[in-house]
């Protein structure tokens, strides 16, 4: 039901620059759920550059389904009430490039599908945003059948699969360049 048949050309992106810190972060931005929420986990990792050095001025966002695989349509991400799950989170990395979200494991949005969290990466020095996916490591059969993962060579595939730590947390590092470079995605229409 298109209102126009003319395809418009997208506006170019630009770097987030160094000075977003007073503008984009907000209270509880990285807390999709309260830490005391049953089933809450920490999703964390480090953002590094082509030398393997941590990037201290990167901002990450995640967007995910809830534990039952349902996609939230709730507003309120900017004014967390600790009860509404909106599925969206934002975090500015710390001085050593480390980030932490408090969230839940997303459920599969369709039966048999490998659950993943969508992530977008911004940084000073990065001229346009980068998209990636954070897959949960558990459902190995679903991972093996996943169309995106299947289209990648083994050593690159693993850059998209988070590591489960003994306490249940998820570890996912983002390497912008070089050895173990994270797979970044482009979609039709971009």
């Amino acid at each position: 039901m298109s209102e126009s048949t003319t395809k418009l050309v997208a506006t170019p992106g630009q770097t987030i620059g160094p000075f977003y810190g007073f503008a984009l972060p907000y209270e509880k931005d990285s807390q999709l759920v309260h830490r005391a929420h049953t089933g809450s986990i920490r999703l964390h990792g480090v953002v590094t550059d082509g030398n393997g050095s941590p990037i201290p001025d990167s901002m990450l966002e995640i967007w995910q389904a809830d534990e039952r695989g349902e996609i939230s349509r709730e507003t309120g991400s900017l004014v967390r009430d600790d009860h509404t799950f909106t599925g969206f989170g934002r975090v500015a990395v710390d001085n050593v490039g480390h980030y932490t979200f408090t969230t839940v494991n997303p459920g599969a949005t369709e039966q048999g599908k490998a659950p993943f969290i969508s992530m977008v990466v911004f940084a000073r020095g990065l001229l346009n945003r980068l998209f990636t996916r954070i897959y949960l490591p558990e459902d190995t059969e679903a991972l093996a059948n996943d169309p995106l993962l299947s289209s990648l060579p083994e050593e690159r595939r693993k850059t998209l699969i988070a590591e489960r730590e003994p306490n249940g947390d998820l570890r996912f590092d983002i390497r912008l360049q070089g050895e173990g470079e994270t797979v970044f995605l482009t979609y039709p229409g971009i």
Binding site: M1, S2, E3, S4, T6, K7, L8, V9, A10, T11, P12, G13, Q14, T15, I16, G17, P18, F19, Y20, F22, L24, G50, S53, P56, E61, W63, Q64, A65, S72, T75, S77, L78, T86, G87, T109, K113, S118, R124, G125, L126, L127, N128, R129, L130, F131, R133, L148, S151, L152, Q177, E181, T182, V183, F184, L185, T186, Y187, P188, G189, I190
Partner: protein
């Protein structure tokens, strides 16, 4: 240079920590060197287009004249993915998230900020021309002296106690947004010797699909710093660069109050099945 300062410099090479003691390493290259690099890349691009290669629409992420990009761009091609489930939806924002007064950056303090009061307005559209309704737009910017309210911005220009430079709004039924603010000034940075950014306002945008998420910068028409700026020039195509420049619009200017600029933003194509839109109204 103290250890603390050295650490700050290494940590934060793009900001202006210590303006009167410039780090020689960070400022070794001249503007002429940067200009030549930009010219060479653009020339190669133009020849490619003449030879039948596709026009570029987005910035290069590997653009050496912007020195900070050297170690921060992926070297492997972006991998084509068919968007699935969560990627076909976007987080929802609404009146709960943003107060209506947040779109006026000139009334956030007790007094009036200094500078040229402007209105910037336009529409957010998707690649099919559909308005992006009820979606979050965030902006941030320097003040009229070229200074950000950011602890790492040490450019010796005055902070304006009446201007923070942060705004938000939710788009209307036709995708429209409107901010009242102060025209930002250019400011120096450390990419090379005597490097200055053209005046700009940062924009952060969401679409109907998370794959449309983007952050960009809006510029003002006729800025003499355009040819010298490696961030703006990382977009190799002139038509594409022009899409980041607002238009002066006298119908947005209001009598004895503000000048006006218009800037429409087009997000990438949506991959949603739009039959659902009618139900959502």
């Amino acid at each position: 240079m103290s250890d603390a300062t050295a650490q700050d410099e290494a940590f934060d090479g793009e900001t202006f920590d210590d303006s009167h003691v410039l780090d020689p390493a960070a400022t070794a290259d001249s503007q002429e060197t940067i200009n030549q690099e930009i010219t060479d890349i653009h020339e190669a691009y133009r020849k490619g287009v003449e030879a039948g290669e596709a026009q570029e629409r987005q910035p290069r992420i590997d653009f050496a004249p912007y020195r900070s990009s050297l170690l921060r761009h992926p070297t492997k091609d972006l991998h084509h993915a068919d968007p699935e489930t969560i990627e076909l939806w976007s987080p929802a924002f609404g009146e709960r998230d943003v107060h209506i007064l947040e779109s006026d950056l000139t009334i956030q303090h007790n007094g009036e900020p200094l500078g040229e009061r402007i209105v910037v307005q336009g529409r957010v559209l998707d690649g099919d021309g559909r308005p992006v309704r009820n979606q979050l737009v965030e902006i941030w910017q320097a003040n009229a002296a070229g200074r950000y309210v950011h602890k790492r911005d040490q450019h010796p220009a005055p902070i304006d106690p009446n201007f923070t430079g942060v705004g938000r709004c939710i788009t209307g039924p036709n995708g429209e947004y409107k901010f009242t603010t102060i025209k930002p000034a250019p400011y120096p940075w450390k990419n090379h010797h005597n490097a200055w950014r053209p005046a700009h306002i940062h924009f952060s945008l969401f679409g109907t699909d998370f794959t449309q998420r983007m952050i960009t910068q809006m510029y003002f028409p006729g800025d003499p710093l355009f040819p010298l700026d490696p961030i703006y020039q990382a977009i190799t195509d002139q038509d594409a660069r022009d899409r980041l420049v607002a238009t002066y619009d006298h119908s947005v200017t209001s009598h004895e109050w503000n000048t006006g600029y218009r800037w429409d933003i087009v997000l990438s194509g949506s991959n949603r099945t739009w039959m659902e839109e009618g139900e959502e109204h």
